[in-house]
């Protein structure tokens, strides 16, 4: 059973979505009494919110690993062309981690 915590991070998106689908099915089947229906419905609404939150949690970000001074490996953001998916600053990304 899920706790009422906000967007419980332990719950994976897939689990939340499956839970939501199960609740929709059970409500449609009408196998629950009123109290159960209301409880399930509330849980469903909560799961739907969690699902949406998880979908929107990330922010578009494309990064490339680069070797910095001292041999440390760093992440650096790069821009890409929306249409072609091409990396914008070709000059800087020729290298490899080798």
């Amino acid at each position: 059973m899920e706790k009422k915590k906000k967007a419980s991070p332990a719950l994976s998106f897939e689990k939340a979505l499956e839970g939501l689908e199960e609740i929709a099915r059970r409500l449609e089947d009408g196998e629950l009494d009123l109290d159960e229906s209301i409880a399930e419905f509330e849980k469903g609404v909560r799961l739907a919110r969690i699902c949406h939150e998880k979908l929107d949690a990330a922010e578009k970000k494309i990064e490339i690993l680069q070797k910095a001074e001292g041999g440390r490996i760093e992440r650096r953001a790069v821009d890409t062309d929306e249409e072609t998916g091409e990396l914008d600053d070709d000059e800087d990304i020729q290298g490899t981690l080798l």
């Binding site: 699902c51 949406h52 922010e59 490339i64 992440r75 998916g85 091409e86």
Partner: protein
């Protein structure tokens, strides 16, 4: 002499067209020994291929030799892939090389087969080792060339499917010398938990058998197998898949297909969520609607309707009475006021009222006097009271020898009953 002739250039072009138009002379493998090798400063490589009976001069242009995995050496026995070409200025033909191998295709194939057998025996290709690709990765790691079409395709497909996707690129060489090590290192680096990568795509676009070789090398296959993070093989191929496919958690025939495996379509998911939510809403709504109908149906039965009616009719009655009272009160007030106003001498009226009242009081007082037992006693009647203090109103209330008090106007006598006669004054027997 025939008037018809060719210029040298025309004729040379004709030869060239004949040579390049002959399939047997193009896109073929030659096996030979390297002599007269020159690495030119321009980056092109010139050499002569020879065997016991013939020689052919060859050129390996910079654009083609850039991805060479090893350095050519004088006397080296090689397989060279290429086409015939013609150098007009010198009137010589040559072999234009696009790739060189140390082994023949058969030998290479044999080596891969041996490696495959070995890794299979180790259990690296056990399907049970395959993990599920996470459904919604927070961040995707990509091991490929930073400048290749593969990366472009992956970014394009991934961001189209999921606009706010996070991608971390580990740039790697994907062909030629050091490619295998570079790819293996990239996979290892992306496995570092600090990068927060949920799934890795490693691969490259399609290419020749040699181009794809790094992805069949032991170090790469092991890197795939050892990846803690679920990994998708994304090597463009049509027929023979690279060995890394067998060690990966999922294998895609192209980088684009790998991106599709790794990234769900956000809009689809949103629709799926909203669809479920709408289903839950409408199921709940129809539940309530149905329940309302059932309640209505049940309460329309007389048993339930009657108490309601009773209350309602009572309420109506009360309301009506209330209204009536208010109306009557108002009327009375109005009447009083009218009367009050219509009688000029209120004091006289009041005096008459007092007189009338006094008169009534006197009459009432006289009546009261007559009714009082004292008046009766004064007229000569007596009252008998039993031992229990009760008035004796019947001979049945006493017995012979009972003591009774007889109360007169000015005192009381204590008497004993000697005898009881049932005869009533006036001669009539009382019943009972």
């Amino acid at each position: 002499m025939n008037d018809r002739f060719y210029t040298i250039s025309e004729f040379t072009r004709l030869i060239k067209a004949t040579l390049t138009g002959t399939p047997e002379l193009n896109q073929v493998w030659l096996k030979g020994e390297i002599t007269n090798l020159t690495y030119h400063s321009s980056g092109h490589i010139y050499f002569t291929l020879k065997d016991e009976g013939a020689v052919i001069s060859s050129v390996f242009f910079k654009y083609a030799n850039r991805s060479m995995a090893f350095r050519l050496e004088e006397g080296m026995s090689v397989f060279a892939f290429g086409s015939v070409g013609l150098f007009e200025k010198r009137g010589s033909y040559q072999f234009t090389v696009s790739q060189v191998r140390l082994e023949g295709a058969g030998e290479l194939q044999k080596r891969i087969e041996q490696l495959k057998k070995k890794l299979l025996a180790e259990g690296l290709f056990d399907p049970a080792r395959r993990r599920r690709i996470p459904f919604l990765p927070r961040r995707i790691g990509v091991v490929t060339s930073p400048t290749g079409a593969a990366l472009r395709d992956i970014i394009k497909v991934a961001t189209r499917r999921f606009p706010n996707v996070e991608i971390l690129i580990a740039p790697a060489l994907v062909q030629g010398a050091g490619a295998a090590d570079s790819v293996a290192r990239g996979i290892e680096e992306l496995n570092d938990p600090s990068h927060g990568v949920d799934v890795i795509i490693a691969g490259r676009g399609g290419g020749s058998f040699e181009d794809l070789m790094p992805f069949s090398e032991e170090v790469v296959v092991r890197a795939f197998a050892n990846s803690r993070v679920p990994i998708i093989s994304a090597v463009g191929h049509q027929v023979d898949h690279p060995l890394c496919d067998d060690a990966a958690d999922a294998a895609a025939p192209t980088p684009s297909a790998a991106a599709e495996i790794a990234v769900p379509v956000k809009v689809d998911l949103q629709e799926r969520i909203d669809y479920c939510r709408a289903r839950a809403y409408s199921a709940m709504l129809s539940y309530v609607r149905e329940a309302t109908l059932r309640i209505d149906a049940a309460t329309s039965v007389r048993v339930f309707r009657t108490p309601r009616d009773i209350v309602e009719t009572r309420m109506a009655l009360v309301r009506e009475r209330e209204r009536g009272m208010i109306v009557a009160l108002e009327r009375r007030v109005a009447e009083k006021r009218r009367r009050f106003l219509s009688v000029p001498d209120v004091r006289r009226l009041a005096a008459a009222q007092v007189a009338r009242t006094e008169m009534r009081l006197a009459v009432a007082s006289e009546k009261l006097q007559k009714l009082s037992p004292l008046g009766t006693l004064r007229r000569g009647y007596a009252v008998a009271r039993g031992a229990d203090g009760k008035i004796v109103r019947s001979v049945k209330m006493v017995a012979v020898r009972d003591r009774i008090d007889v109360i007169l106007r000015d005192g009381a006598l204590t008497c004993t009953v000697d005898s009881i006669s049932r005869r009533v004054i006036g001669g009539k027997e009382e019943k009972g």
